[in-house]
């Protein structure tokens, strides 16, 4: 019996050694492969040439919302589906049993207005420099996390449809714009030459709200306000 245990242990060690060797070999092969990749300018010149026609000044925002808008649309779908998955697991547990301390409450009172301001700035700045819907949404989600940690819950009259509306508004606005531009004979997600910047800002504003609600909802860990 003991002998068999020792054999098993040795087999397990051998297996681990084999795994490590395999991974080290894969690492060396991958590094050699990367070193031998041709080093061109990539897509940078193509993006730089197309940005003036996109309606925004920031290359990153132009790629996210315009050139690769399909990716971002699907990303919003993944986010929404992930929250639906979390909600399907059951009602949100109580994150806080005791009353929050004065320090946390005081910090929230000071920080929350600033956070909302920063989020709005990031959203606006996305058109020209670093910023955008995801950064703005993440900052806004931090405000939601602070509120949750202080024991806040969704009030009774906002449960159900209002919360769901905030969660879905990003995806809904994105889809509405993507399909709406097809009316004038354009393709899916093909923004009109004039007003593309405004459309993208509208999408980003809706997405920022949804992203904030979804990320904070993930921390809550279930359907709001049923526990």
């Amino acid at each position: 019996m003991k002998r068999r245990m020792r054999l098993r242990r040795n087999a397990s060690r051998l297996l681990h050694l084999g795994l490590v060797l395999l991974l080290v070999g894969a690492g060396i092969a991958l590094c050699l492969l990367i070193a031998s990749l041709p080093r061109g300018a990539g897509l940078a010149p193509a993006v730089a040439a197309a940005v003036p026609a996109s309606g925004v000044e920031s290359e990153l925002t132009a790629v996210l919302l315009s050139f690769r808008g399909y990716d971002t649309l699907l990303e919003m779908t993944v986010l929404t589906a992930a929250l639906a998955g979390v909600w399907s697991l059951g009602p949100a547990p109580r994150l806080r049993v005791s009353l929050p301390g004065a320090v946390l409450l005081g910090m929230n009172r000071t920080l929350l207005p600033v956070v909302i301001l920063i989020s709005g700035y990031l959203l606006w700045a996305g058109g020209a420099r670093a910023g955008g819907a995801f950064q703005a949404g993440a900052v806004l989600a931090a405000a939601g996390v602070l509120l949750l940690l202080a024991g806040a819950t969704v009030p009774d009259r906002l449960r159900g449809p209002p919360v769901r509306a905030v969660v879905i508004i990003g995806l809904a606005a994105y889809l509405a714009v993507a399909l709406g531009v097809m009316r004038d004979g354009r393709r899916f997600l093909e923004y009109p030459a004039t007003g593309a910047g405004v459309l993208m800002l509208a999408i980003e504003a809706a997405c920022a709200l949804s992203i904030a609600a979804i990320l904070a909802g993930m921390l809550a860990g279930g359907r709001p306000g049923e526990s």
Partner: protein
């Protein structure tokens, strides 16, 4: 240019360290962390390769990484919720241990 390659190699290393933990660790939270480390490695590799070429930085890999980070965060949130649920339902957060295994 060579520093970009160094970052790319670090990305490969992170990815493989995460893969090792994903295969070898039995605790589910460790597996989730392992997947996140792998994702960070892949992101580092992508951004590094965007810097490797001559001229301006390629914004397309950066946009892909932003997308990837958000997807990774939401997938992690869902995975952690599932793990919590499993822990409450079964009292187990680890995959079963094979007999005679001393890890």
């Amino acid at each position: 240019m060579s520093s970009a390659l160094l970052y790319a190699a670090a990305g490969v290393a992170l990815f493989l360290i995460g893969l090792h933990a994903l295969v070898w660790q039995r605790h589910l939270v460790r597996k989730i962390i392992a997947v996140n480390v792998m994702g960070s490695g892949a992101s580092l590799l992508l951004v590094a390769l965007g810097h490797a070429g001559p001229g301006a930085t390629d914004p397309v890999p950066q946009a892909m990484v932003i997308t990837g980070i958000v997807v990774a965060v939401s997938a992690t949130g869902l995975a952690l919720s599932l793990t919590l649920r499993l822990a409450r339902a079964s009292g187990q957060v680890e995959l079963p241990r094979p007999r005679g295994d001393d890890r």
